[in-house]
Symmetry: C2
């Protein structure tokens, strides 16, 4: 009777409270902290809400409480399937929570990232997931001043803003090289595209390994800022071959490039691994079913996303993780494309990571 509806006919908290015979604030508490109510009122509010089909108005809640239940995610690309795996993990972990994901694409620009960060922060997100450790000074300052938990993903390094989850791309690249050295390869090329900070660190790892082995030769490196693709892998490999015809192995900065190299070898009738060995990076699904099967450095992308979101939500709700920096490690998945001599009983080269299946081998972050 006296119940007045909003124009749009939506049910408000006040209606629920009235039907339940409690004050609006009590009804409000029911949705945020049911334990604070007596059992009697709790059930009354519950059934009133059900009966009316009440759905809270998030905008009003956000305005009144001065905070949102939004987790902001800043990633550099939607194209790259590395990020789609990470995202899948993030969405998965957030699905059963009250938090919703707000995604923004920095397009590999730290300036764009800074701009987006400013917008995100102004909306007082519950938490933030940002990619990598190479923010602008200004972004870094904003992140540090932010009053919400933050997780940096994709890699680990010194001075986390807050939490951090990833692995050492530098060490992973070194492990790839060590694997190739172990197979007797010496003239090892590097093929890289996009060259974002993480690919750059893989290149750094490659260079360090080659230098340490006294095998470094700049002609063995082909890198471009062009976005990656299978076709590009073939093209870059062609360039590499022109510069270094006596090549005996290729470290590809990602698996798409590796597949492109595989096809290009097939086109040129180069035998793999007899003439040239191939190793990729990320271990996408197709690597294991290519012919020959392709060696790759496995990274835990889905796990990274899922764990990042879980850690973040825990932190938002006051459950801070025991250790704020998590190294998820990597693992060299040795397959036909790099196995000249069958590796006998030597375990796969691994970085640190969950104890279940990885050999502990701490990556150095200095």
């Amino acid at each position: 009777m006296g119940r007045k509806r909003t124009k749009s006919g939506k049910i408000r908290l006040a209606e629920v409270a009235e039907l339940a015979g409690v004050s609006p604030i009590t009804a409000s508490r029911f949705f945020r902290n049911p334990e604070a109510l007596s059992v009697a009122k709790r059930t009354r509010v519950d059934s009133a809400a059900r009966e009316l089909g009440y759905v809270p108005n998030l905008a009003a809640r956000a305005l009144a409480s001065q905070r949102t239940e939004v987790i902001g995610v800043l990633i550099p690309s939607l194209t790259n399937n590395v990020f789609s795996d990470v995202l899948r993990g993030i969405y998965h972990a957030s699905e059963d929570s009250r938090y919703s994901i707000q995604l923004s694409n920095t397009r590999y620009s730290i300036l764009q990232e800074e701009k987006l960060l400013r917008i995100f922060l102004a909306q007082k997100p519950a938490g933030l997931i940002v990619t990598g450790i190479d923010q602008t000074t200004e972004s870094r300052a904003m992140l540090e001043a932010a009053d919400c938990p933050i997780v940096q993903i994709m890699e680990i390094g010194p001075n986390p803003v807050d939490m951090m989850i990833g692995f050492s791309h530098f060490d992973a690249a070194r492990a790839a090289l060590d694997h190739l050295f172990g197979q007797g390869h010496r003239k090892i090329g590097f093929v890289g595209a996009r060259m974002d900070p993480r690919v750059q660190r893989r290149l750094d790892g490659y260079q360090a390994a080659m230098k340490d082995a006294g095998l470094f030769d700049p002609r063995l490196i082909v890198a471009t800022a062009t976005p990656t693709s299978v076709t590009l892998g073939g093209a870059l490999f062609t360039d590499l071959l022109a510069k270094a015809p006596d090549l005996d192995a290729v470290f590809c900065a990602n698996d798409d490039l590796a597949l492109g190299v595989l096809f290009e070898c097939r086109r040129r009738e180069i035998a793999i691994p007899e003439q040239i060995a191939i190793i990729g990076f990320n271990d996408l699904e197709f690597m294991a079913s290519a012919v020959p099967t392709l060696t790759s450095v496995r990274t835990n992308r889905y796990e990274m996303g899922r764990t990042a979101a879980t850690m973040l939500i825990d932190a938002i709700e006051g459950r801070r993780p025991e250790r704020p920096v998590l190294d998820l490690g990597f693992k060299v998945m040795e397959r036909q494309s790099s196995s000249l001599r069958r590796s006998d009983s030597r375990p796969a080269l691994s970085g640190t990571g969950p104890a279940n299946k990885m050999v502990a081998l701490p990556s150095s972050h200095d």
Copy 2:
């Protein structure tokens, strides 16, 4: 001096208005409809906002205006790279707009879709993008009752809820089959995974084509509900070969499966296309650089996402499209994997689509 800040120190519209020497409501208008202001005030507010680094509070705006600037997107999967292309298009089109994307994953469940739809609708989204045309009756009713524009994507069919953009999977499959028939193939197998409604319609198209040609044989069909992968392609092809050893071509419901079939053929030393022809679906990037290059049905996924978001935003802002249903068509990209006889001057088989590069060939939607 007299300027009072909110506790958190955030700049409010009132501060901007004060600095600009106008009333808050005028400042408000500047952000929503600058043309309504005189040039003098416009520049004053603009510089005041810049100087203070003002960012509007979206929650307050949403609460006061009774609407949000959120576009809800319901897709069945984040894994499938078909959807990541669509999403890229959607995000791209929304980036320069005031609208933000809220993504939810139905996991191929129309019940889950219904649940998510209910939540979305309660927050009064500015618009909605939903996948496909197979909603539950309840979902359908909610969509029709929603007071925001809606775009259905990925396929076209009768009775759009509002707008619709996609192509006919049935016709696309028929076109693939027609291409194979044209190359002289008769024992054509079907390999499909996931079997969502759109893959199902591709299977329907395959069946119709085979029946019309008097070549239908249920043993030629291998389909599973398992999510797709390259490895699965090889496994399904193995099954198919066991059931129909005299196969001369395979229509794969997507490109991952096609790549798996390619590798499996290589493993079995089956010559492509001499012994078995392969055609995929979607024309992912790698199809053109495989060895042999793989024929596929090109679909305009990025374009679909971009156009859907653009149409939706236009509709939200009152610019309804001339035609609410858009057929983006498809195109059979003939490559080595299906070219027994070099196709001379015959144009590629196409569905309807943008005039620029596709041969108009309307798909029937009945």
